[in-house]
Symmetry: C2
Subunit: 153 residues, 2 copies
DNA sequence: CCGTATCCACAACGATACTG
DNA sequence: CAGTATCGTTGTGGATACGG
């Protein structure tokens, strides 16, 4: 694979326009990633985020506020019958769209950082089929880094 | 989707065993992500990493060393005919395995953070077909966060 | 249950200068 | 080309205490 040549062909590269750099400006901290993992796992309550992620309330409050401002989480008041009003943080569509990225990182960790694979996996609700993330062409063929090149849009 | 219930069913949760937390301990900085993006784009030389990522030499040197120690990059001396010996940083198999995660983040940024989509895209070398990353069951059906649940391994 | 307020430690990063 | 050295600033996060 001659990706370097392919990149050079693209000419001058604008780091500020890179989508990954923009993404990391929004979610580029460990705590943000772990909060998002929890949100994907279904956690919605402040207290659960704090306990399950293992961060302090101050950090959780700050990060959650940033994620809400970024439109990734929505903070909604709700009231169970007979209870007082509480807050919950739920993923927006923008937030749910991060699921492939999160799952890809979890999968990578399962495979290369865990001695015996990861502790949990996602399965389809009915069929129990395990779900995985991978890279495919629009024809549906799975592809790796070899055999790819960059194209300017 | 009742993921919260599904998670609660899993009982006590060990944050330290989470693959995402382990992954973030290794690549959990903005500069690490951007260096990996460059490596995936085909960059191999110190100087190019510094210029294209837009970080200082000190940061690049430190991060690259960590990525080498983590087994994600390999530092190799090489010599072009008639030139002096240089160093290059190439992705190991472990490093290449991060491609789906990186592409997923880039895709997310393209879609939600860029006004007109991202500046570049990956295409298959021969067919020119655009490649994308998504989540599927092992039967090949694309699935979203709804309709999934967690299962303990 | 859902946070805020302070203080502190350290990690991450930029700027600059310098070396083989 | 491929780094190292030093300095200063900001970001990130832990600990603790406190309030609606």
């Amino acid at each position: 694979m001659r990706r370097e040549g392919a990149l050079a062909d693209l000419g001058s590269w604008q780091p500020t326009r890179c989508s990954l750099a923009l993404a990391m400006d929004v979610i580029g901290t460990k705590s943000a990633f772990l909060l998002l993992r929890e949100a994907i796992y279904g956690t919605t309550r402040f207290d659960d985020f704090v306990r399950r992620v293992g961060i302090t309330e101050a950090v959780a409050a700050g990060r959650l506020k940033e994620l809400v401002e970024a439109g990734i989480l929505a903070k909604q008041p709700y009231r169970e019958p007979g209870q007082r009003t509480r807050s919950e943080y739920v993923l927006t569509e923008k937030g749910e769209a991060l699921f492939p990225a999160m799952l890809a990182l979890i999968q990578w960790g399962d495979e290369y950082l865990q001695p015996d694979g990861g502790p949990v996996e996602f399965v389809a609700d009915e069929t129990e089929a395990e779900v995985r993330v991978d890279v495919r062409t629009d024809q549906g063929d799975r592809v790796g880094l070899d055999g790819l090149r960059l194209r300017r849009r």
